[in-house]
C-alpha cells in the first residue's frame, strides 16, 4: 500500500534533488578553484523511471510486474553525476558561473520542497482514507 508508483517516483525525485544540491554546493565551494569544471546531477534515472511507469500503466501491467521495472528494487535508485564542459569565460578555466549557480540552487530548493509537499499530501490522502472522512 505504501509502495505506490507515485511515492516511488517522488522518492526518486527527492534523491535527484539531494544529489543535485550536493553537486551545486560543490560547484559553489570551488568557485575560486582554477581549472574546476562544474558538476551536475543527471535527471535521466528519474525520467527513465517515469517512462517505465507510464509504459507499465498503458500496458495494464499490475503492481508486482511493475516492480520488475525497478520500481522498488532495493528501495534505492542511483543518480548519476556528470561533469559539464561548458566553455569558461575566465582566465583560470573555471566554468562556474556564480549567478547561474545561485539560480539553480534556489530552483532546486523549490523543487525539493514541492516534492516533499507532494509526498506529504500522498500520506494525508492515505490517512483520510484510513480514518474514513
Amino acid at each position: 500500500m505504501l509502495e505506490t508508483p507515485t511515492l516511488n517516483l517522488l522518492e526518486r525525485a527527492l534523491d535527484y534533488a539531494s544529489v543535485r544540491q550536493e553537486a551545486l554546493s560543490n560547484n559553489i565551494a570551488n568557485i575560486n578553484t582554477p581549472g574546476y569544471q562544474r558538476k551536475e546531477a543527471s535527471f535521466a534515472s528519474v525520467l527513465a523511471y517515469a517512462q517505465n511507469e507510464n509504459g507499465a500503466r498503458q500496458a495494464g501491467i499490475n503492481n508486482s510486474t511493475r516492480d520488475f521495472f525497478g520500481a522498488s528494487e532495493g528501495g534505492r535508485s542511483s543518480i548519476d553525476l556528470f561533469q559539464t564542459d561548458e566553455g569558461s569565460v575566465r582566465v583560470d578555466q573555471n566554468n562556474v558561473d556564480m549567478d547561474a549557480e545561485m539560480g539553480r540552487l534556489a530552483q532546486n530548493q523549490v523543487y525539493y520542497e514541492t516534492c516533499t509537499q507532494l509526498v506529504g499530501s500522498q500520506f494525508s490522502n492515505l490517512k483520510s482514507v484510513i480514518e474514513g472522512r
Binding site: E22, S25, I28, N32, G120
Partner: protein
Amino acid sequence: MGFMDSLNTSASGMTAERLRMDVISNNLANASTTRSANGQPFRRQMVMLAPGETNFASTLAAFDHSNSYAGILSTEQASQLGGVKATGIVDDQTPFKQVYDPGNPDANPQGYVLMPNVNVITEMVDMMGATRAYEADVTAVNSAKGMAQKALEIGKA
C-alpha cells in the same frame, strides 16, 4: 550521502574562503614591511585551491568492503564531490617595487628602498571576491538546511 555531505562541502568552501581572507589581510597588513625575517621585503602570499577528493561517503565506503553502505551516488561519484581544499600558501614571485626614500634605514646606497610586491587594489578586489564566494557558500548552506527542514515536515498535518 545526503544533507550532511552537502553542508560539509559548503563548509569546506567557507574554510577555504576564510583562509584566503586571512592571507589577504596579512598581505594588506604587511603592505609596507620593508624588512621581514629573511632580511628581504615582505612577499605577497597567495592561497592555492584544488578540488577535494574525499568526503564522508567515500571515506565510509573505503572502510566498508562489503559495500552494504549503498548511497544514492556510487563511491567514485561521491568522491567527485569532495568540496574544496587549500593545497598551500605560495609566495608571489613578481619583483619588488623600488621607491626613492634615502632617509629609510633599508635604503640601498642609491637611496632606493625595495617595497613589498603587494598591490593594495588587487588585494581589495580579491577580498571582495572572497567575501562574495563566502556569502554564496552561506546561501548554499541555508538552502540545504531549508530542504532538510522541509523533509522533516513530511507527514506533518
